[in-house]
């Protein structure tokens, strides 16, 4: 059998396989995998640098940034998202928008709440700035009555 097969003749159902999924060359998969492993090593090394001692935000940004690059590579190359239509991109991307809203609103709401882990705040101040010891002392005083 020759390598160059006429697809229409080969498939009994008469479908042109090019109308189905996009076929990527093997090297794309191999290269993507190697980059993913390298990025994993980079993440671990970056964590060892202990940047969080100087700036917690920077350490988290680096870790999540690298993770997002890895996720992007898996989604576009392994999951073929690069070759999908815009509707599929919408389906894939919309949950991320929702999550951004969820996490954003949580971070905005939280500073105005008190003592989510009972007992802990009696011993320290909640970031970013609500002092709970007095509230806990008050609650305990009320309970004692």
């Amino acid at each position: 059998m020759s390598h160059h097969t006429d697809h229409r003749a080969a498939t009994k159902s008469g479908i042109d396989p090019h109308e189905l999924g996009h076929i990527l060359p093997f090297v794309v998969y191999k290269r993507t995998f190697i980059i993913l492993v390298v990025l994993t090593i980079v993440t671990v090394v970056a964590a060892e640098l202990n940047i969080s001692k100087y700036s917690a935000a920077l350490a988290m940004a680096i870790a999540l940034g690298i993770a997002s690059v890895k996720a992007f590579l898996v989604a576009t190359n392994f999951m073929h998202l690069k070759y999908e239509n815009p509707v599929t991109w919408l389906y894939a991307g919309f949950p991320l928008v929702l999550l951004a809203i969820l996490i954003g609103l949580l971070f905005i709401d939280n500073p105005f709440r008190v003592d989510p882990l009972p007992g802990l705040e009696a011993q320290r101040v909640i970031r970013p700035g609500v002092v709970a010891q007095e509230l806990v002392a008050e609650a305990e005083a009320k309970a004692a009555h």
């Binding site: 396989p17 999924g21 995998f33 994993t40 870790a63 993770a67 898996v74 392994f78 939280n110 802990l120």
Partner: protein
């Protein structure tokens, strides 16, 4: 019944399933879009827990750093590479199916499933190691019980989140394994061809999602300390 797995590109013995309401090409794209919709719900499922993690990490920064130091990043890193490799072989399985090579589909799916098993075994050893140090629900160490007030002072809610996140992820790994075993059985019967490989593709999509979730779990849980 032909049980010989095909090593030559040959047309599927049955071809795409007959659906009277849509042609096979539309059916393929509809199935893929439906799968992406399901993956979106899975992202929201884990996203909810990631949101809880994000908030508590922000609020209890020191405690989360103390707790994360109890985890071993080398083991976590090994598990990450195992899952990345399994994602690679799952993508190769789809590629093989696109070329009508059922034998390669079986081979690559088998490797994917074995990697999943390795991941679960490593996870089991991680969890049981935690039990010895009183870091597992129901255990205690040096008189400090899991999630007792003293425990919470040290670690806040990190370990509750750790077990829920990795546990839910582990359940998805098991579900993915079952799914891929089912697809592999179809491939062993030469079910797939250049014009029909939908189950391979959507099974692989699910597996890639499982990998994606772990890609985020690894730095957030293991590399914080």
């Amino acid at each position: 019944m032909n049980s010989h797995v095909s090593s030559e590109a040959q047309p599927g013995q049955i071809g795409p399933p007959i659906a009277h309401h849509m042609d096979p090409v539309t059916a393929y794209h509809a199935a893929k879009l439906g799968m992406w919709l399901f993956l979106a719900t899975e992202i929201l499922l884990f996203g909810g827990m990631f949101a809880a993690y994000a908030l508590y990490h922000w609020m209890y920064f020191e405690e989360f750093h103390n707790a994360s130091r109890q985890l071993n990043p080398i083991i976590g890193g090994f598990n990450t590479v195992v899952l990345l490799f399994s994602s690679f072989t799952a993508a190769l399985a789809v590629d093989a199916a696109q070329h009508g090579r059922n034998d390669k589909v079986v081979k690559n799916l088998l490797i994917t499933i074995v990697c999943a098993l390795i991941f679960l075994v490593v996870k089991y050893f991680e969890w049981s190691a935690k039990a010895e140090h009183g870091l597992f629900p129901g255990t205690s160490h040096d008189g400090i019980a899991f999630n007792s007030p003293e425990f919470i002072t040290m670690y806040a809610s990190f370990f509750g989140l750790y077990y829920c996140l990795t546990g839910l992820h582990g359940i998805h790994v098991v579900a993915g394994m079952c799914l891929l075993i089912w697809v592999m059985q179809k491939a062993r019967k030469n079910r797939f061809s250049q014009d029909y490989y939908t189950p391979v593709e959507i099974g692989a999509l699910y597996w890639h999602l499982v990998d994606l979730i772990w890609i985020y779990l690894f730095p957030l849980l293991y590399l914080v300390g």
